[in-house]
């Protein structure tokens, strides 16, 4: 890009103006519907802003309320546990899927298409399918669990917090492990074949080659997938809203869902404060993500 004669020190104001004109519509959309709302949410978080009452500046009062709000901390606890469990399992299954997809076999293209299907359809729709799958009396999950003898009696998935938690984790893994696999596959494709050929000559076993060659070389792309999934799982909303509605007894209410419910209840100030805490955590992870994904190298 550096050698481009139309860039650099000798740009006329007219050329710069043209560049701005091209970028402006997109920037305006981003500013109006992403940047201003975020700033607005930060501002709101310093106000008492409840429906039908006058807005009042209360500085850090909302955040002080958060510090002692057990419902909030419970949602944090659930969210952290959900992120840890689902992302960990997704990474393992995603790596296995990517190893399979990397092999040459007839119908590989079809398999890559099939693997995208759970990822591509709306969460709200697949969550309804899973709601039926987890049905206590006649759902597929209990049919499989009892037929295979994993559990002696049917599991009451939504009746207790542990069942509901695992129902959410399983569904999330089903939806996003394929996505992880696609990302990791790009890393696998970048590993030169002759590294393996040499290792084969040296007589190393398949598993040894995986631990000694594949995994270390995949590390950067695994980190990227891990961070991306962490950011995404931190803001989990659709899945819990549809599948468990945050229950039973609020045990699966994510931070997103808690903030959303607070908004719907008409408390914009407090809802904003809750979502600001989530925003800050997610934003810190996204800085790490951008750094590790080497995105910006492209334009330098």
């Amino acid at each position: 890009m550096q050698d481009d004669t139309r860039r650099g020190l000798y740009n006329t104001p007219k050329e710069i103006a043209e560049a701005v004109v091209f970028a402006l519509p997109a920037i305006l959309f981003l500013v109006c519907f992403l940047l201003i709302p975020i700033v607005g949410t930060f501002v709101s978080s310093f106000y008492r802003d409840v429906s039908y009452l006058p807005r009042e500046f209360i500085f850090f009062e909302n955040f002080r309320r958060i510090a002692t709000d057990s419902t909030y901390w419970r949602s944090v606890y659930f969210t952290v546990l959900f992120v840890a469990c689902s992302v960990a399992i997704e990474m393992v299954i995603g790596i296995i899927f990517s190893l399979i997809m990397h092999e040459a076999f007839p119908g590989r293209g079809i398999l890559r298409g099939i693997i995208l299907v759970p990822w591509a359809i709306p969460v709200a729709v697949s969550a309804r399918v899973w709601e039926l799958i987890y049905n206590f009396h006649y759902g597929l999950a209990n049919y499989i669990v009892t037929a295979l003898g994993i559990a002696g009696s049917p599991i009451n998935w939504f009746g207790n917090s542990v069942g509901a938690f695992f129902a959410l984790v399983i569904t999330d893994v089903w939806k996003t492990a394929p996505f992880v696999a696609i990302i990791i596959l790009t890393g696998l494709q970048a590993i030169p074949e002759d590294l393996y050929a040499q290792a084969k000559v040296d007589g190393t076993q398949f598993m040894q080659r995986f631990w000694k060659i594949t995994l270390p070389l995949l590390k950067p792309v695994i980190v990227v997938a891990l961070l991306f999934r962490t950011i995404d799982a931190l803001r989990v909303f659709d899945l819990v809203y549809v599948l468990t509605k945050g229950g039973p007894g609020g045990s699966t209410t994510s931070v997103s869902l808690y903030a959303f419910k607070t908004f719907v209840a008409g408390d914009f100030g407090y809802g904003s404060a809750i979502s600001v805490t989530l925003f800050i955590i997610a934003w810190l992870f996204s800085i790490l993500y951008i750094k590790s994904s080497r995105f910006l190298e492209e334009v330098k």
Binding site: F22, V117, A120, L132, T186, F228, Y241, S256, G271, E298
Partner: protein
């Protein structure tokens, strides 16, 4: 030799497990959608085939399913189309023109794509209420364009940057304006990239849930994900057959799209999510 054989068996087992893991819920969904009773897996019941669920979904106007489908189609096609158009203008500016602070623009845009939706939704709701846009297509299309723009911009920047600069330099020397270079030179060359971007932007808009949940109030603008999520029976019992028929009809186009264009989608995804 022995290792090769073990590997082959493992591969076949892996493929079978992968396919069933991904597709079992869909097979179940389709089976329930054609079943008279959704409880056919229990011992006291058996499978009875019927198409009544589909008749219900497609012809019972009170369910408004076709309205949801129409709303979703309009909102996602318009949002994805505008996002790709604006994204390619901006990507052209970033890769070809002397845009000031382009690194900063890209950095901010990328970090925007990771905003939790819930930290936007409260402000946007008040904003839409003030504009009187609640329960109109505009209340969805405008936020959706912004929502899918960061990803679109990133994929397009990556594609545009891979087109050799000599080509458009030649067009510039021949007296083409920037607009002509973008639409007559870059667009035709980047067609696969533009198509991938459109597909992904379409899928993301089609799947969006939280904004649609809050900014729509009835069948005039409600989209498929919200319609199906809020679908409850009238008499207490959840009409699983009808819901699964609706889910099948609305996911079928996406499934076909994904199977046919998996190469484009994977390319777009990997360009949008990972570099290098």
């Amino acid at each position: 030799m022995k290792e090769e054989r073990i590997k082959r068996v493992l591969l076949i087992v892996g493929i079978v497990l992968t396919v069933s893991f991904c597709l079992l819920p869909f097979i179940y969904m389709v089976m329930v959608s054609f079943a008279k009773n959704a409880d056919f897996l229990s011992l006291s019941s058996r499978y009875v085939f019927t198409v009544n669920n589909y008749k219900e979904v497609l012809f019972n106007a009170n369910l408004h399913f076709l309205d949801y489908l129409k709303n979703s189609a309009i909102v996602s096609v318009v949002s994805a189309g505008v996002a790709v158009l604006l994204g390619s203008l901006a990507a052209f500016s970033i890769t070809r023109l002397p845009l000031p602070f382009k690194g900063l623009v890209l950095f901010v845009t990328l970090s925007m794509s990771m905003f939790p939706q819930v930290s936007l939704v409260g402000f946007l709701f008040s904003f839409m209420t003030k504009l009187g846009w609640i329960n109109t297509y505009l209340a969805l299309i405008f936020p959706y364009i912004a929502w899918v723009l960061p990803l679109s911009l990133w994929i397009l920047v990556s594609y545009f940057a891979s087109i050799p600069r000599d080509i458009d330099k030649q067009a510039f020397i021949d007296g083409c304006s920037s607009w002509q270079i973008l639409f007559k030179v870059i667009w035709p060359l980047a067609r696969p990239g533009i198509f991938s971007t459109f597909l992904l932007a379409f899928i993301f808009s089609f799947n969006e849930f939280m904004f649609a949940l809050l900014f729509t109030t009835d069948h005039r603008t409600r989209t498929v994900p919200v319609g199906i999520a809020l679908f409850q029976g009238l008499h207490g019992e959840i009409p699983w057959g009808t819901i699964m028929a609706a889910a099948t009809v609305s996911t079928l186009p996406i499934i076909v799209l994904v199977l046919v264009f998996q190469r484009n989608i994977i390319q777009g995804l990997t360009r949008g999510a990972v570099k290098g």
